[in-house]
């Protein structure tokens, strides 16, 4: 049998039976392995499964045959869908809301977003197409990935899904597209005003049973760092705009960054950093963290503060600008409320440092300004009680990692630097997963430790019933390329690729706590 025929047969066999239900899932005949075209199917903070999307045939000049394989959270084959579609199709993301899966495709030629809804029986019951008008949205196609900073598809439990986009006005605006997973409902789209006097962008902020909240930034000039942040609320079912609120009062300036919903009371809480009155929330150093309540009509109240210079100092050696001695500043990756009502703020410490190597290179090339390293350091989890008072700050040791910053970045403020490096994937934090009632929370990061772990490892900070533990899963195996995939809470999915044997083994490993 010729090699080509053999490869096809192997590929076809893969199509028929490439998932086992034994201990490992093994793929064989892998000539080339790439993670593009695959991803996780998220359900709120947990993983429901994984998808693999690939071309299986050319049908005609314009169309290909594709296969979408879905695997459940235990890596068992959950079914496949074959369909014919444009040869210019990309699969960007997939989410699950408890009742339906939504797959977000893009046709890069017709510049359309295609949303396909699949119910729990694997039947596609809806499809929606939207023309992408915005140039910046088109660029984002190539960066969208489930765990990248450009994640832009969210599930609303049992109800629907939401995504955001840009409107190319004279001053860019945004749209919010809510898609109902109810077969008979169309959902709604909100579009910002075309003649607005400011550039506006919007991202998902949070959602309770009634109101979807988006975080909208407004600025007069495109690259301006004078930015106002608003919380915009829409009725989830009807799309009616309920409020547009700037978080402000007479005391401080505020930058909301995260939200969480108390499932028992349907109350939404907002979280972020606060600043001296009159300060710039993008450029200036914050005074600490704040929490507050927001009603379904956008009224913010119940402010509580965790200041650097008083509250945080009880647990960490921090100065009044928020810099922790020996660690640096804290970048907030996530905030989650556990089943007992306590709040965890997941942060990673970072700082900027002058780079010796960079100085030499700059001197040779005649560059401007000192060369700067962005240095990440330990993880720090801040623990708040039910009343949002800081009760502990747990430092989890991690190696320092250095990234050379672009030229001219010496003049950037620390916050801007951090957001830029977050977008470049420089932080070691990877993801947070939790079960349905948040009694079990996993916070994952990557690190390298030659002595203890013999190389790379995935570190997982777990909070089970509010008790913290740290587990480390080695990513070093002889004669194999080892990697990980986010997995259901309490587990990691380890992949071992053996180039010589052309096999890829995937298995679930439980965390220890």
């Amino acid at each position: 049998m010729t090699r080509k025929i053999k490869l096809i047969c192997i590929g076809l066999l893969l199509g028929f039976a490439h998932f086992g239900s034994s201990q490992n899932t093994q793929f064989s005949g892998i000539v080339k392995y790439s993670s593009k075209g695959s991803g996780v199917i998220e359900e709120n903070n947990d993983i429901s499964g994984y998808y693999f999307f690939y071309k299986t045939d050319k049908v005609d000049r314009k169309n290909n045959m594709y296969r979408l394989d879905v695997v459940d959270k235990n890596l068992n084959n959950a079914g496949s869908k074959d369909f014919v579609d444009s040869k210019n199709l990309l699969l960007l993301d997939a989410v699950y809301n408890g009742k339906a899966m939504l797959f977000k495709f893009a046709d890069v030629k017709t510049k359309e977003l295609i949303f396909r809804y699949i119910d729990n029986k694997g039947i596609q019951f809806k499809e929606e197409r939207t023309v992408i008008e915005s140039k910046s949205d088109l660029m984002m196609f190539y960066y969208e990935d489930t765990y990248s900073p450009y994640k832009n598809l969210y599930s609303i439990k049992d109800k629907g899904f939401v995504t955001y986009g840009t409107k190319d006005y004279k001053k860019d605006g945004y749209y919010i597209k809510y898609m109902s997973s109810n077969k008979d409902s169309k959902g709604w789209t909100y579009v910002s005003e075309e003649d607005a006097e400011q550039f506006q962008t919007s991202v998902y902020f949070g959602c309770n049973d009634n109101v979807l909240i988006s975080l909208v930034s407004k600025r007069k000039k495109y690259l301006s760092r004078d930015v106002d942040m608003f919380l915009v609320g829409h009725d989830v079912n009807s799309g009616k705009k309920m409020f547009e609120t700037k978080v402000e009062n007479n005391e401080f300036e505020y930058l909301p960054t995260n939200s969480f919903v108390d499932k028992n009371t349907n109350q939404t809480y907002i979280f972020g950093t606060y600043f001296k009155k009159g300060d710039n929330i993008i450029k200036d150093n914050s005074l600490g963290f704040f929490t507050a309540k927001i009603t379904n009509n956008g009224i913010v109240s119940g402010y509580k503060y965790i200041s650097w210079d008083v509250d945080m100092k009880k647990y960490l050696p921090v100065n009044d600008k928020g810099k922790v001695d020996g660690l640096g500043y804290l970048f907030v990756h996530d905030i989650i409320r556990d089943s007992k009502g306590n709040v965890l703020i997941v942060t990673e410490s970072y700082k900027k440092a002058v780079s010796g190597v960079g100085i030499a290179a700059a001197a040779l090339n005649g560059g401007s300004g000192p060369a700067i390293n962005f240095v990440t350091n330990d993880m720090v989890v801040l623990e708040l009680d039910k009343t949002f008072g800081l009760v502990d700050a747990k430092v989890v040791d991690k190696s320092k990692n250095r990234y050379l910053m672009p030229e001219g970045s010496a003049f950037w403020d620390v916050q801007t630097m951090a957001y830029y490096m977050k977008s470049m994937g420089a932080f070691d934090y990877r993801y947070t997963t939790s079960n349905a009632d948040n009694s079990n929370i996993n916070i994952a990061y990557v690190d390298y430790n030659k002595k203890e772990m013999k190389g790379s490892y995935l570190g997982v900070i777990s909070y089970k019933d509010s008790k913290m533990s740290v587990d480390k899963v080695s990513l070093e195996v002889k004669k194999a390329d080892v990697d990980y995939m986010p997995a259901k809470v309490g587990f990691v999915a380890i992949t071992e690729y053996r180039k010589k044997e052309k096999t890829l083994d995937v298995r679930m490993e439980k965390l220890n706590y």
Binding site: S21, G79, N512
Partner: protein, 482 residues
């Protein structure tokens, strides 16, 4: 009625007396040397058939023979088979009965091997080697049923199905027209893979259909051989019925009851299941699946066998008491070997499942079961510490029977420290004075749970009860290190 009552009394007495004599029956080996008569015969046979190749594609045939030969020897080396005198003699006696009553097959050389797999299956390698899985032995009820299965496999040999399949395969891969069709299909700019798939599927369906016909042929000829023996002819149908329902009739391990203790009660959350996403198969896919099967539906096979049975031979006869007792003993050895095989192959999910089923069937006084469960859970603990337990467990899936999935969810939900504790209390409450394994595993469990005074007591008790035990040397070495 009276006869049945006497049988029942004898069976009960047999169970009581069984444990005393079981030890000698359970000395098994898991590999044999090339000088073993069976392998010497195997090598001679392969040398003969290789030399005699004078067919089309002779070099390819020789290559395939070599590959089969090497694969089989590798499986011997990899301990895929069990070599136990009792098991072996039992099977040889059945073979002897079949050959005695069927003189035409007396000269056929047949080598029987017992495979350690827990799935109910038997197979013929074509040149006289027949493999019987432990899982087949344990799912059948009596010797007659096993004898029929053996007759079926012998029929495959007599009908030369292995050689027919080999040449059919070689005809396929050397088929110039097929190669031409595939090359032409591949040259298509569009739909190339679909066309190739269509061609290969069509050939695959034909091959599978041939395979199903061969199974019917082996059923028929096997029945003829079987009917000549003194076995109960209707057991041929019963064996098919059992195989048809083997994936449905899966007993409960009663894990909750078996691993519960007062000091460490079994937690409901350990058996908490999950909502798993699933896309149902299309109807067309299911239909295609039936035609992709290599074996016909059991119900169809039963119908054909029933039609063929010589009704005059089907007299109502009870199996002899001795035969029943012997089969139970044979089955018991197989059941234990399945657990040992699972442990050796690091399939801890199924190992625990089968061990708990043994516990349900034979109780706690067995000198094997308690130690086996302790061994499995201790190994699970150590594997979990290294984050390697995932390699040794089945994953929860809606494809498994609920009684198997229960074990999967148990491992899915239990934490590392809980594995250590549950095993510690299980062993502490169930130590068997004749089981050195249970004492040794209890010693290990004490270490895991940092119960050091108890660990020392467990060691002393082991040394007292088993002065010549297999772990004595290890304890002495540990003492020297201390």
């Amino acid at each position: 009625m009276y006869k049945k009552a006497i049988n029942l009394i004898f069976l009960v007495l047999w169970f009581c007396g069984f444990s005393q004599s079981e030890k000698n029956s359970f000395e098994s080996k898991y590999t044999i040397g090339l000088d073993d008569p069976k392998l010497v015969s195997f090598e001679k046979k392969y040398a003969k058939i290789t030399n005699e190749v004078n067919a089309k594609y002779s070099s390819q045939v020789k290559k395939i023979y070599k590959s089969r030969h090497d694969d089989f020897l590798k499986s011997i080396k990899d301990s895929d088979y069990v070599f136990n005198d009792y098991l072996q003699k039992y099977l040889e006696n059945i073979l002897h009965e079949i050959k005695e009553k069927n003189k035409t097959i007396n000269d056929i050389e047949i080598r029987l091997f017992v495979n350690r797999e827990y799935e109910a299956n038997a197979y013929s390698l074509g040149e006289g080697t027949i493999g019987i899985n432990l899982g087949l032995i344990t799912c059948l009820e009596n010797e007659s049923q096993l004898a029929y299965i053996l007759c079926h496999e012998i029929a495959h040999i007599l009908l030369d199905h292995s050689e027919i399949d080999l040449h059919s395969y070689l005809d396929l891969i050397n088929d110039k027209n097929l190669k031409k069709d595939i090359k032409t299909a591949l040259r298509n700019e569009y739909g190339a893979n679909a066309e190739v798939l269509k061609i290969l599927t069509s050939h695959g369906l034909k091959e599978n259909k041939k395979s199903r016909i061969q199974e019917f042929q082996a059923d028929s000829l096997g029945l003829l051989l079987f009917q000549n023996t003194s076995y109960h002819v209707l057991e041929s149908i019963r064996s098919m019925e059992i195989l048809d329902s083997v994936d449905i009739n899966i007993a409960s391990s009663e894990i909750r009851k078996n691993l519960n203790s007062i000091k460490f009660p079994f937690k409901n959350q350990w058996l908490q299941d999950e909502d798993l996403i699933s896309l149902k198969q299309d109807y067309e896919d299911r239909m295609l699946e039936d035609s992709m099967k290599t074996h016909p539906d059991c119900k169809k096979r039963i119908k054909k066998i029933f039609y063929l049975i010589n009704k005059n031979k089907a007299i109502d006869q009870d199996l002899s008491l001795n035969a029943q007792i012997n089969y139970l003993r044979f089955k018991n050895i197989a059941e234990r070997e399945i657990v040992k095989g699972c442990i050796q192959k690091k399939n801890y999910s199924m190992g625990l499942y089968f061990a708990l089923c043994l516990l349900n069937k034979y109780g706690k006084d067995s000198d094997f079961t308690i130690g086996a469960i302790g061994d499995i859970l201790n190994k699970c603990y150590y594997a979990q510490v290294k984050h390697e337990l995932g390699k040794s467990l089945l994953r929860p899936s809606n494809d498994y029977h609920p009684n198997i999935n229960e074990i999967n969810y148990f491992f899915n939900n239990i934490t590392l420290s809980e594995i250590g504790k549950i095993n510690y209390y299980f062993l502490k409450n169930n130590l068997v004075s004749t089981s050195e394994e249970s004492y040794y595993q209890y010693y290990v469990a004490c270490d895991i749970n940092q119960k050091y005074p108890e660990k020392e007591d467990a060691k002393m008790e082991y040394l007292r009860l088993f002065p010549n035990g297999k772990y004595v040397k290890q304890f002495n070495l540990e003492q020297k290190d201390d």
